[in-house]
């Protein structure tokens, strides 16, 4: 499958992560290969509100048709103290190649911590967002194979959400879905969060109707939308399932919610 270990090592030979391991009698020209990326599936999503941001991701990790584990978090607290990440105010979600996601989280976490030690104040989300873009672009020719979403509160206390491509192109948005089921979730979010294709009845003649204006949704509604989006994705995408991890960033800190998803 899409595994790194594509070539099975012949009879008890060492398990190199190369397509062809050395055989007993080298004959003629042989081509070796190594593919450094694996797609670990899964999906993430983020929505920002008036005074909060929500990031969510399923906890299934796959390679090909196999499930590696049913609990591999894709959400990470950034810039907190200790193993519990105490006092963190920024959350990073990564989906794609899990090993790169982990490495990226580790780098960003260190940078945000160093910033606090050197400047004596926590890093703003806007600054963190731009720094993340630079980290990703720094590996422009051997990218971190991940789609990242960064969430927190901006300097006015409003929910802030930034989404990225694997090489650092980024944008602040109201909502974004990423990963395997992004194509399923994103149009649903367009409709339910940004009220796309919704018009106010009787607000004009014929096609000159007025668009329903998007407004920040209350937290309870957003949580329900996130759950609906994921239960829908689980129904139709095999790489999504097992568990749903949500992190809600408010002025009081980061609240973490976990709930079960279907395991089939």
């Amino acid at each position: 499958m899409a595994s790194v270990f594509a070539g099975a090592p012949p009879n008890g030979a060492p398990g190199y992560s190369f397509a062809q391991t050395p055989t007993a009698a080298p004959a003629g020209i042989r081509e070796h290969s190594f593919y450094p990326y694996t797609d670990n599936g899964g999906s993430t999503l983020g929505i920002s509100g008036a005074d909060f941001s929500i990031l969510a991701g399923d906890t299934r990790s796959t390679s090909g048709y196999s499930i590696n584990t049913r609990y591999a978090p894709k959400l990470f607290k950034i810039g907190g103290e200790g193993p519990e990440s105490k006092g963190a105010r920024i959350v990073l979600s990564v989906v794609g190649f899990a090993a790169d996601g982990e490495a990226l989280k580790e780098r960003l976490d260190t940078i945000v911590k160093m910033y606090k030690y050197q400047h004596g104040k926590p890093m703003s989300v806007a600054a963190c967002a731009q720094r993340l873009s630079h980290i990703l672009y720094g590996k422009r020719f051997f990218p971190y194979y991940v789609t990242a979403i960064l969430g927190g509160l901006d300097e006015e206390g409003k929910g802030a959400l930034y989404s990225y491509d694997p090489v650092g192109s980024y944008e602040r948005e109201q909502c974004r879905a990423a990963g395997a089921a992004a194509s399923l979730i994103m149009p649903f979010l367009d409709n339910q969060v940004n009220f796309k294709n919704q018009y106010i009845p009787g607000s004009g003649e014929g096609h000159a109707l007025q668009q329903r204006v998007p407004e920040p949704l209350p937290r309870k509604d957003v949580e329900e939308l996130v759950k609906d989006a994921f239960t829908s994705a689980v129904e139709r995408h095999i790489e999504v399932g097992d568990g749903l991890q949500m992190m809600i960033i408010t002025k009081d800190g980061i609240e973490e919610i976990y709930e079960e998803l279907k395991k089939d």
Binding site: S183, M186, D190, K196, Q198
Partner: protein
């Protein structure tokens, strides 16, 4: 060149409601990224049975004409209109006849059975394998997006007007996230003794 299924683009969706069914399609016809026409419907009525066809446009035209012929011949021989279930089996066997050189289409059938009065929808792959669904069927280049919107918006026993809103929102929002589909839509709401056809404008890009 890509898959024959995604050269021209297009999307189609069918849904079941309470004593009614809906079928809807977009209107785009393209040649890869270039839009050639914004008035290319993909739903074809055969009496009270409706057939949606997405995929390679030349096959959409060929297959729709072929079924017009076949359904007409059926009605003349049997002296009764074709039921959606019979239509489904006709589509399936016709596609399987071309097992090793298929028509590049993903058909959708929708209608209400006249004897039982029950709503019926189903979908097919290009060689005739039938997908009997109790809720909704999607097809075309926006099928991933349609799966997402339908799974999120659909609920059981929708009344005709609510079903219209649901199917329209599901289609419109799905095609807006697909570069190969869109440019307006046709929506049919089929009830026991009434069919309503509506033309939706949608985004013109």
């Amino acid at each position: 060149m890509g898959s024959p299924f995604s050269i021209n683009g297009g999307a189609c969706v069918a849904m079941v409601g309470k004593d009614c069914v809906a079928i809807a399609c977009d209107l785009r016809l393209g040649m890869q990224a270039l839009t050639v026409s914004n008035n290319f419907p993909k739903i074809f009525p055969y009496g009270d049975v409706y057939l949606g066809l997405t995929g390679l446009a030349t096959d959409v035209s060929t297959v729709s004409d072929l079924f017009r012929y076949k359904v007409n011949m059926y009605r003349l021989r049997e002296e009764r209109p074709i039921s959606p279930q019979t239509m489904a089996n006709l589509v399936s066997s016709t596609l399987y006849e071309r097992r090793f050189g298929p028509y590049f289409v993903s058909p959708v059938v929708a209608g209400i059975n006249h004897t039982t009065g029950k709503p019926f929808i189903c979908g097919f792959d290009s060689i005739g394998c039938i997908d009997f669904a109790k809720d909704f069927i999607v097809s075309g280049t926006a099928s991933d997006q349609l799966f997402g919107t339908c799974e999120g918006l659909w609920e059981p026993d929708l009344a005709p007007e609510d079903l219209f809103e649901t199917v329209s929102q599901a289609l419109l929002n799905a095609v807006d996230r697909d570069a190969l589909s869109g440019w307006g839509a046709h929506v049919y709401i089929i009830e026991k003794d009434k069919v309503t056809k509506r033309l939706l404008k949608g985004r013109q890009d």
